[in-house]
């Protein structure tokens, strides 16, 4: 839950009185053009950034007061791929599993399972520095979710992926929801949000400009898709903001 969240970087307002709530087990999409404030919101929810104003709660815990408890609940897939190039794909995943203190045998099983789902089993023992961009993004996602978190923050998880990889990630995210996990997904791919999300929040210039299930928003604004919803609300295409 976010209440009146604001964040300023010197003279730039990244978030402006942002408030919304995500239910347990919900797949929530945070949409908006680049620079809208999506990643800033996630960074505050992860405890990486301190808000200038307002409060944020994750799993009922105040992010600023109980960061340790929050970190025990969440899994994060960052927007920019962050993998150790000198470690193999498997070692990268197992490292982050170990940081969440997953016992050895469970970690091995979970790693194998996720690598297989992401189509990385064959390349798992190659150094990640030699992976293609798409493979890096997939391993990036697995690293954030190997510990089976209750709440997953996925920051543009499919950006730059080929259609096949993107479909594999979509299936994976859908499976997470099926397991009762809460997923907060940021994206500027409107079709991704329409396909996956129970509800979406559209933000622009740090402000929440629409909130609701994709179907309802499209109906409310007489739009064929979420892209059109954004145009109706802002007068711009979402990619123009990029």
């Amino acid at each position: 839950m976010i209440e009146g969240l604001s964040k300023r970087f010197e003279d730039v307002t990244a978030l402006d009185d942002l408030s919304f709530e995500v239910q347990k087990g919900e797949l929530f999409g945070l949409l908006g053009p680049n620079g809208a404030g999506k990643t800033t919101t996630l960074n505050i929810l992860c405890g990486l950034l301190e808000p200038t104003g307002g409060r944020a709660y994750v799993g009922g815990h105040d992010v600023q007061r109980e960061p340790g408890r929050v970190r025990g609940l969440i899994g994060v897939c960052p927007q920019d791929t962050a993998v150790y190039p000198f470690l193999t794909g498997r070692e990268n995943v197992e490292l982050f599993g170990s940081l969440h203190a997953i016992p050895g045998e469970s970690l091995r099983k979970k790693t194998e399972e996720l690598l297989e789902k992401m189509g990385l089993t064959e390349d798992a023992d190659r150094q990640a520095g030699k992976y293609s961009g798409g493979m890096r993004r997939r391993i990036n996602l697995v690293m954030g979710l190997v510990h089976n978190p209750e709440i997953a923050f996925l920051d543009e998880p499919t950006v730059g992926m080929d259609p096949q990889s993107r479909r594999a990630v979509w299936d994976f995210i859908t499976e997470l929801k099926g397991q009762g996990k809460t997923v907060i997904l940021t994206t500027h791919y409107m079709e991704e949000a329409e396909e996956l999300c129970d509800r979406v929040g559209i933000i622009d210039h740090g402000r929440l400009i629409a909130l609701g299930p994709p179907g309802e928003l499209m109906e409310e604004h007489g739009a064929r898709d979420l892209e059109e919803v954004f145009i109706r609300l802002t007068g711009r295409k979402i990619r123009e903001g990029v």
């Binding site: 990486l48 970190r71 025990g72 960052p78 150790y84 470690l87």
Partner: protein, 386 residues
Amino acid sequence: MELRRVIALAKKDLKKTVREPAALFMTLLFPLIMALAFGVAFGGIGGVEVAGFDIGVVSLGDPQDPWAIQFVEAIHGTGVLWVKGYEDNKTAQGDLSQGRLSAVLVIPGDFGEGCSSYLAAPSEPSLWVNTSIRLYLDSGSMMVTQAIPHLVNNALLVTIHGELPQAMPSPIHLESPSLVEARNVSTFDYMAPGLFPFAAIFLTMLVAQSFVYERQTGLLRRILVTPTTSAEFMLAQVLSNMVVALAQVALVFAGAFLVGYRPYVDASVLAFSFLIVSAFSLCCIGFGLVTATIAKSDGVATGISFFFIMPQMLLGTFVPMGGTQLGRIAAQFMPSHYVTDALTSLLLRGAAITSPMILFDAAVVLVSGILILIVGVALFGRYGKT
């Protein structure tokens, strides 16, 4: 504190050292190559051409005794014997056995009486006070064993008779020289102890580069959103870099040994060397963290790290910049100086680990290491994470 996290992070850092060519070269190959190259360049041949012999003189009587002073001047007057005064025979013997001296001469306490008794009654041997001068020689040098007894005896006769007589009886007798097996100390023997901290100094640069890289690529942020605590993260850094420091010590020893370096080493000396270099690695990690706090990119980190590396290297290792008065004063503030000092005493002079100076050096390195590390962790934690 979850040990599994610490081990996982430390293993990750060690894998980086082994798998990344630049890190592998700087941490492990460079010290080995350096030890081999310096050993070959300054090893068996030695760095100084000797045109005379150093002779240690121990006066057991009054050092102001004019006869003893005259004798020492006569020795000096030979032109090829360079006198070094010692207060006790043990110290002089130590230097002789380490090859710092070619000979040790022990002037007895009644030397002056013997000379005076001869002068008072040159033709009355029954009234002379007879005494003996002991001479210890480096058995490994034929030149020394052949030349020095003769030169000393001549100096003795000049002292007593005022000139070199043909054959005159004398109350002072030069004993048959005792031969001492001295080590052949080369320039490399003096340099080698400084190679150990020299190798570890570069950890500063590698730690700084590693932290900056993790911050730039988002890996640090990624770790920060796991339950890993700062203490676990830093402990892993300390452990992995200590392992690297230990590997460096082993490689420098091995490389130096291959080119003929044979210091005074037993298990306790080895263990101490590992420990003091490990303690020194704490300083390097601390300096690395300070560097990483300031630097915004890998390249800048490399540059800034040399502000810490160069003084440590020039004033605290084998590089002879501490030869000036100012250099010696500045060296007192370099942790590397204390590592080199302790290792020099141990490896070159064969000092005991429990000797006060060694313990003092170790304490300085450990305390400064902990303090610098604390400063580094605090600065990086406050300003360096983002």
